[in-house]
């Protein structure tokens, strides 16, 4: 769901600029009717449709064949639930006055409301033929062009708009963005440079965020155009303008890295890690920079670096966790021992998921298994972990043992020893039956064993433990669907929708764009051979994705107006990749 409220399909903001040319082709209405015509337009924009119709009819009484009035009346009617009549009238108006840009513009608006952008574009072009410099039509055309990704057309239209009205700053940004989308970085850079230069007289404290975004956007374009040094120069020269402090440092680090100025990049990344040592992206870049300086990967050196980092940031988890990736054998055992018992002591439920990537390494798996089993027996007999050098021996609280049992259950599940896993999870459940995670993990376990009904049953038991917990509700619904209990799945899922189960449940789930639910329900129908229902579900997913594409339309105006260009461009690119999204692929 978008942050912007969706406009109702037909009420489009639209102002007809009545240039002298259009006055000509309106066959010279006398002043009284001309004033009425201006009112028709005004009433349309103000959504006072009844008044608009009255004014239009007043003109038509005297001039029944006035094309533009017919068209405007038609447009107004189409907003009043009389769409067919409206379309007819617009067509009639067009027939009467085929060279009126107003008529063509209106016709285009109708097509746009119908999401028929191809035809709408054609209409707008016709409108422009009648009135080449109609800014409003040009703008409407441009938005449809970018919606349809006609980047060449979009750039050309945007150039015209800029030429017509260079005083409007968003026109500059729009043209630059258009060139950017079309891959023409050079022009984009020139445009932004010219625009930036024109700003130098302005008060620098005005609109700080937009200025900052402009700099960062120019940087983005320069990098894509291959001029990394130029990008860095802009960043350096405009340090004070960039208000997004973190973005500034990240850009600097990235650019220095790209330029091969590795030791400076390293310094930048180190200072970023000082700000946020948990950010794995920074770590990844940092490691690359180091490895490039060393001429290739060097695990020993890396361990040394991270040992230092760990000492520098003793409370940070990331260095400790990453060291588990780099180390092997006995060193791995010691580090893993420290890491895991600290998290068990804290009672962190997500511990297993955190270390799961290590399970690709058989040696590490058996080391971990030995560790976990030792923990279990030690905690069971002494309520304490086995002694470890450098670690203070403390009495553990009783729940720590339960978390170890929980960990062992997940461990054995991961290495496909389901029976042992089940034994451990059941013991954990007997120990502390009030912990939600035990139930959802047992459900997962049973699913892995192929006992889908058992899984659904235990997930439901877990759900009852906390009716306000949305996550366990989702799990219970999911397992019900997996066990082909479609009704139960639906009943469970709707508990957290707007009406909470009464009334139109399905439509609430649809509005919420609950794709996982639709996909899983569809798959359940597939399994039970109800192909029609399955197809219905998958088509819903398709509809959601079409909506995602449609919803772009509002953002073209909004982002250009606000100057949030970096976000806008990456948004457009996300939309370009949309149908590759794994949710879509799964349903397709």
């Amino acid at each position: 769901p978008l942050l912007l409220p969706p406009p109702s399909p037909l009420s489009l903001s639209f102002s007809l600029s009545l240039s002298p040319q259009s006055m000509d082709s309106s066959k010279k209405l006398p002043s009284k009717e001309a004033a009425l015509f201006r009112n028709v337009i005004k009433f349309y924009e103000l959504k006072q449709y009844k008044k608009g119709i009255k004014a239009a009819d007043a003109i038509l009484k005297v001039f029944p064949d006035h094309g533009e009035t017919l068209a405007m009346k038609g447009l107004t009617l189409s907003c009043m639930d009389q769409k067919e009549e409206g379309v007819e009238l617009v067509r009639k108006g067009l027939r009467k006055d085929p060279r009126s840009n107003v008529c063509w513009h209106v016709y285009g608006l109708l097509y746009r409301a119908d999401h028929n952008y191809v035809e709408a574009i054609k209409c707008y072009r016709n409108a422009l033929r009648a009135d080449k410099e109609n800014l409003q039509v040009l703008r409407d055309l441009s938005f449809l062009q970018i919606q349809m990704r006609d980047t060449k057309g979009y750039a050309e239209t945007r150039r015209q708009i800029l030429a017509l009205r260079p005083s409007n700053k968003s026109h500059w940004l729009a043209y630059a963005a258009a060139c950017h989308m079309g891959g023409d970085m050079k022009t984009s850079t020139r445009v932004l440079q010219a625009y930036a230069d024109s700003l130098t007289d302005e008060d620098p404290t005005r609109a700080p965020y937009e200025r900052s975004e402009l700099i960062l956007y120019r940087t983005m374009i320069l990098v894509e155009g291959g001029d990394i040094a130029g990008a860095l120069e802009i960043v350096e020269n405009n340090k004070d303008v960039i208000v997004d402090g973190l973005a500034l440092r990240e850009e600097r680090a990235r650019l220095l890295h790209l330029l091969g100025r590795l030791s400076e990049a390293e310094t930048e990344y180190r200072s970023l890690l000082e700000i946020n040592c948990e950010c794995h992206e920074y770590h990844a870049h940092f490691r690359k920079v180091l490895e490039e300086q060393w001429g290739g990967p060097d695990p020993e050196k890396m361990i040394g670096v991270y040992d230092e980092l760990e000492k520098a940031f003793p409370h940070s988890l990331a260095p400790k966790r990453l060291l588990l990736d780099f180390s092997k054998g006995d060193a791995f055992r010691t580090r893993a021992d420290r890491y895991v018992r600290a998290l068990l002591h804290k009672g962190v439920p997500s511990l297993f998921m955190d270390i799961r990537p290590l399970y690709n390494d058989e040696e590490k798996v058996s080391i971990l298994e030995r560790l976990f089993l030792d923990y279990a027996s030690s905690l069971q007999s002494n309520m304490a972990f086995p002694p470890l050098e450098g670690v203070e021996a403390v009495k553990e609280t009783p729940d720590t043992y339960m978390w170890v049992l929980f960990l062992l259950a997940q461990h054995f599940d991961c290495i496909h020893e389901q029976e042992r896993a089940l034994a451990y999870i059941d013991e954990a459940l007997r120990h502390t039956p009030t912990v939600l995670e035990l139930y959802s993990t047992k459900a997962l376990l049973l699913k892995h064993c192929g006992d889908y009904e058992g899984a659904a049953k235990i997930a439901e038991e877990g759900r009852l433990l906390d009716l306000a917990d949305r996550f366990i509700n989702t799990e219970a619904a999911y397992f019900a669907l997996r066990a082909d209990m479609v009704d139960r799945g639906e009943q469970t899922a709707v508990i957290f929708t707007k009406d909470g189960g009464g009334g139109e449940q399905s439509s609430n789930l649809f509005d919420a764009q609950c794709i996982w639910y639709e996909t899983r329900t569809g798959e359940s129908y597939l399994r039970t051979g109800q192909y029609g229902k399955a197809l219905k579900m998958f088509l819903r997913v398709d509809k959601h994705f079409m909506e995602f594409v449609e919803d772009q339309l509002d953002f073209h105006t909004y982002c250009l107006r606000r100057g949030t260009l970096r976000a806008y461009i990456s948004f457009l690119r996300m939309e370009d990749r949309l149908f590759g999204h794994k949710y879509y692929r799964r349903a397709a």
Partner: protein
Amino acid sequence: LFVVAMGESGMHPLVFTEMSAKVIGQVKALNAAVFPIHYDDSFYDSVLATPHLTRLAYHRGILVGAACCRLEREANQPSKVYIATLGVLAPYRSMGFGSQLLREILTMVQSLGGETVTQAYLHVQVNNDEARRFYERHGFCVSHEIPNYYVRLVPADCHVLVKDLTSAGPSSSA
């Protein structure tokens, strides 16, 4: 209602809340693990009607103990509080949680406006020495025995343990 009590495990204070409909499943799971008796839905319905007479005890985010009481007002008799259930999960016993729960209940009962509660009482199976000793430590005494109180348990008899609430002031920490 959130009350934090520092007990023996000062590092991890117990957090007390009242029962609510959304977590009733947790309480059912706890009671099923702790008590040999099964409490049916009507029991929990009546408990939910007076949530202020319940206390749930959370240790490090996990529900480990729960207590449910009833106020009994008979004609021309002073009010009594009946402790219907009070239990702590087995691995979490001997940490003072039961005592804290009981103190919570008794404090709550004695700060109820509008009536003076003169007595607290409960039933303990005759062979449950551990429970009986626990309550005796907190000032309860065995008042009498009821034969065949428990329909499905063996032994079926129970002790009635009683504590007079009028004598001292607010319960002193045991």
